[in-house]
């Protein structure tokens, strides 16, 4: 079968699936959500899955991922799992509110939606749709590329559950909210996760979003997150991705910022078969700040694709992108940063940087740092580098008796540290720091369950100094 046919097979299967299961998908939901689904599936029918002939997907080939057989569930199937055991996840000295998802569905049957003492609402999207239709009418599906992004339309059509957070005006949520999404099933799963996060005026939220898989089964997670940051609100968003080598994750995040707001996104990709992170940030008010950071450490035949689009609509905003990656063995990486400064967006400051280290001749990287600028009073810059570990630094370390393996480790760690150090919460930073060290040592695997679930506090790199050379 040709590439095209395989894509079409899954497309048709999904469209049929939608038609057949309309009753269970539409069950108990407001009419306008059903209308959105109908429009979206229509649009998806027109668009189809992206192919490598499309500019945005030229270097990310989905054929293999799309040709697998996936199962699609319309309700949660988790009765036989020991939920407690699965989600015993903690970060030392870092107190979080954990919201758990298993195979795309909210875990914790009894309290699907919680209202905290400060008025913050956290819980399952499926429940929230029914309980707060007025919020959904204002926000849901309002800031996504609903007409040209096939994965978003597919998600809108099928989305069953996901994380819902509503932070009321003026509320600063002290305890970080941690979303743990785990895939654990004995069949290949196709998951359509949908999240909606709203930060009211002058509010503050720290959100940690972990994607993990437990077994080695193939999966396809098409996740869409909509984030609205109202005036002067402040969001700290961390994405931790640690999936098995047969998993596919398409992660589309849409951030909509209003005047004076501040949003920072930090994606840490440690493992995964094929991961695509699409981040769209719209700076739709003056004095906004957007930071998009990422670090990726890939090996084997893994593929990572980070696409970032920052839309400067209003004047006096600033955006900052920093992505660093180390690619080993046959791993392939793609970075595409696109900063658009519209005519009105004077006094914009926008910077973009993508740095990569290739450790083998079979690893490859494609980087495209784009700037599209229509305003004249701006300061914009971008940089991209591809290289290897600095030979002089290597020599320096070796001349001090540090073994090659350790020197390499140290340099790689130092390379990644620039992004890790941007994490503002110390316990989280320490934990991720440790994860990165473990990953670089090759100790981390998906059997560590949750990314954050490694008991002991950070261990220093152990130097076995070769005494014979000293």
């Amino acid at each position: 079968m040709s590439k095209q046919n395989k894509n079409i097979a899954l497309k048709n299967k999904l469209i049929n699936l939608f038609e057949e299961n309309k009753n269970s998908i539409f069950k108990n939901e407001p009419q306008y959500i059903s209308n959105l689904r109908n429009q979206a599936i229509e649009k998806f029918y027109q668009l189809g899955f992206p192919t490598t002939k499309m500019e945005g997907w030229r270097n990310t080939d989905l054929t293999k991922a799309l040709s697998k057989n996936y199962n699609h569930f319309f309700s949660s199937k988790q009765n036989d799992v020991d939920v407690e055991e699965l989600f015993k996840c903690e970060i030392h000295d870092f107190d979080t509110d954990i919201v758990s998802f298993l195979n795309g569905f909210y875990v914790n049957g009894n309290s699907q939606l919680r209202t905290m003492s400060d008025g913050t609402i956290v819980g399952s999207l499926a429940k929230a749709i029914k309980q707060y239709p007025e919020i959904f009418e204002n926000y849901y599906n309002k800031n996504v590329q609903s007409d040209k992004n096939a994965f978003v339309t597919l998600n809108t059509a099928f989305a069953q559950d996901g994380l819902f957070i509503y932070v009321p005006d003026g509320v600063e949520v002290n305890k970080a909210i941690q979303m743990v999404s785990i895939i654990n099933h004995n069949e290949n799963l196709f998951i359509q996760n949908r999240n909606l996060i709203i930060l009211g005026k002058n509010s503050r939220l720290t959100l940690v979003h972990c994607d993990d898989s437990i077994n080695q089964q193939s999966s396809f997670n098409n996740s869409v997150t909509e984030i609205f940051v109202e005036e002067n609100a402040n969001l700290d968003h961390y994405k931790l991705q640690n999936l098995n080598n047969d998993s596919t994750l398409i992660n589309s995040t849409f951030v909509y910022q209003k005047a004076g707001s501040n949003a920072s996104t930090n994606s840490i990709t440690l493992n995964g078969g094929l991961i695509r992170n699409d981040t769209f940030v719209k700076l739709n008010g003056q004095m906004c700040d957007a930071n998009v950071y990422g670090v990726y450490l890939m090996d084997k035949t893994q593929h990572i694709d980070n696409h970032v689009f920052i839309d400067h609509v209003e004047p006096n905003c600033s955006s900052n992108e920093l992505f660093k990656g180390i690619l080993d063995e046959d791993a392939t990486g793609v970075f595409n940063g696109h900063v658009l400064v519209r005519r009105n967006a004077q006094k914009t400051r926008a910077f973009q940087s993508n740095k990569n280290i290739l450790l083998t001749d079979t690893a490859s990287i494609d980087t495209q740092p784009f700037l599209e600028i229509y305003a004249d009073d701006v300061k914009c810059g971008h940089g991209a580098t591809v290289g290897q570990l600095d030979t002089e630094a290597m020599f320096y370390l070796r001349s001090r008796g540090i073994t090659e393996a350790n020197a390499k480790l140290l340099l790689m760690y130092a390379f990644a540290a620039e992004v890790i150090n941007k994490i503002s919460i110390k316990p989280l930073r320490d934990r991720i720091d440790d994860m990165v060290k473990k990953r670089l040592r090759g100790e981390l695997s998906i059997c560590d369950k949750c990314v954050l679930h490694c008991g002991s506090p950070a261990k220093e790199i152990h130097f076995d100094i070769d005494m014979s050379k000293v």
Binding site: T367, Q368, P369, I373, Y374, V378, K379, H382, Q388
Partner: protein, 482 residues
């Protein structure tokens, strides 16, 4: 102060095009439109060997299957390819062995362009091949070149006199399947320059081609082929102008360069096709495919371009660095003003070991124009220890224009280093203030800053061209260059 500055920028950016006159020369033209007959007509007119006609027809049938590319950051109005005259030649072009026999009107044209063939010949020691509309009208200095066994002549002549060389190298760097405009050019190209530098010869003079579109409704499709044999060196310059007309005229050219072991080719362009008027009416559509291959070891290609003209520029001079230790360079200043659009940049394909490339691109946009840099740096698995450095800066004059950067970097090798950096800004108030407080008025200051900004590239031009390029910057951004 601020409005003052705006006025000056307006003045600076609204210079007139000085080469917009039309010369009344008797022309011989092909019927309008494009079909196999047109191609056979051109081929017959030029008395071409069969292989060339075949090449043209193959390219044409391939072209018919293609669509105009849409990926560039350009708004290209629909082009009716049947509404173009594909061949136009000044009459009386035979037996031009003596400059006196050249049509006086024609000589006058070149005089007006500041490239008096006669004067050029005597004073500057630059061999010129002048191409008007579709055909080459005069090549100077052929005798001097013949002494060194250098072949420098029109493409038509090369086809007649050196068919083997043409057959061997034509389409070897830019195949007719390369892109839409390359296919079109391969089908209908009418003339161009041909240059062959034999082994070990260092070309003693600069070679130069002047391109001129004159007749209305015509398109110009020329082809340049440069072959530098082992150990040779040549510096080649190219200039172009066109009359002012309300209609848009098309120019789709191909340049192919083949460089063998230890040889070097330096290719400089000052592109000044008519850019259209202040409302964006008229102007040349410039779709050019330029590519060189460093076939041999230690070979070098360097592209230097100053782009000030054309309503639309679509041009990506590239280097295929196939030989080990070969070097590719690209230096560009692109100025867009009024409603001009430019999408230009470079392609560096590293295949050989220890290959090095540098890209320096300076974009200046003013008025309502859009100026994009689009580049590709590709390092293949085998290109060990390759190195690339790219720098693309954009300068914005005025708040209605756009400056964009679209670099593509593709690395498949662990021992190579690629660096790319770019900045976009306007002339900073600090710089202007500094100049002002030292008694330099704002107008001169802008000139100074723009000149300094482009200097890195201008200094790479051959001396004869550097002067012209500076003048051009002056015209394009009138009054700015002190």
């Amino acid at each position: 102060m601020n409005s003052d500055k705006n006025n000056i920028i307006d003045e600076v950016t609204q210079g007139e095009y000085k080469y917009g006159f039309v010369t009344d020369i008797e022309m011989e033209m092909a019927p309008m439109g494009l079909n196999e007959d047109t191609i056979r007509f051109i081929s017959k007119k030029k008395n071409e060997p069969d292989f060339l006609l075949e090449f043209r027809l193959k390219a044409f049938s391939y072209w018919k299957t293609m669509k105009m590319p849409q990926w560039a950051h350009l708004k290209i109005p629909e082009i009716n390819f049947q509404d173009i005259i594909y061949y136009a030649a000044p009459k009386k072009i035979k037996e031009l062995d003596n400059i006196d026999k050249v049509d006086p009107e024609l000589l006058e044209t070149f005089n007006k362009l500041g490239i008096s063939l006669e004067e050029q010949k005597r004073l500057t020691g630059v061999a010129v091949d002048a191409i008007i509309d579709s055909v080459s009208v005069k090549t100077t200095f052929q005798d001097t070149l013949a002494k060194h066994d250098i072949i420098f002549c029109s493409f038509t002549e090369a086809v007649q006199k050196h068919p083997d060389l043409v057959k061997k190298y034509l389409g070897s760097v830019v195949t007719y399947t390369d892109n839409f405009f390359a296919a079109l050019n391969s089908a209908v190209f009418s003339d161009g320059s041909f240059c062959y530098i034999p082994k070990g010869v260092r070309c003693p003079i600069e070679l130069s081609t002047y391109f001129r579109i004159n007749a209305a409704k015509t398109g110009q499709f020329e082809r340049t082929l440069i072959i530098a044999e082992e150990g040779s060196y040549v510096s080649y310059m190219e200039g172009c102008t066109a009359p002012m007309r309300d209609e848009n005229q098309m120019h789709a050219a191909i340049v192919e360069i083949i460089v063998m072991d230890d040889a070097e080719v330096k290719y400089s362009t000052v592109q000044n096709w008519y850019p259209g008027n202040k409302e964006g009416k008229g102007g040349i559509y410039n779709f050019v495919t330029k590519r060189g291959i460093c076939k041999g070891k230690n070979s070098k290609i360097s592209w230097t371009q100053v782009e000030t003209g054309s309503a639309i520029t679509w041009k990506y001079p590239g280097c295929i660095l196939k030989g080990d230790n070969s070097v590719g360079e690209f230096n560009s200043v692109a100025v867009t003003n009024n409603y001009q659009q430019a999408d230009t940049g470079s392609k560096m394909i590293h295949i050989g070991k220890n290959t090095k490339s540098t890209i320096i691109s300076k974009g200046i946009s003013a008025g309502h124009s859009n100026n994009s840099y689009r580049g590709l740096v590709k390092i293949s698995k085998k290109a060990e220890n390759s190195r690339n450095f790219s720098q693309c800066d954009s300068l914005l004059l005025g708040d209605k224009c756009g400056a964009h950067t679209f670099p593509n970097i593709n690395v498949k090798n662990k021992s190579s280093v690629v660096e790319h950096e770019a900045t976009t800004s306007k002339i900073s108030d600090d710089q202007l203030f500094y100049c002002n407080q030292r008694g330099i008025d704002t107008e001169s200051a802008i000139g100074l800053i723009v000149n300094g900004y482009a200097r890195e590239v201008l200094k790479k031009l051959p001396m004869e061209f550097a002067v012209e390029a500076q003048k051009l910057l002056q015209i394009s951004l009138e009054g700015s260059v002190g």
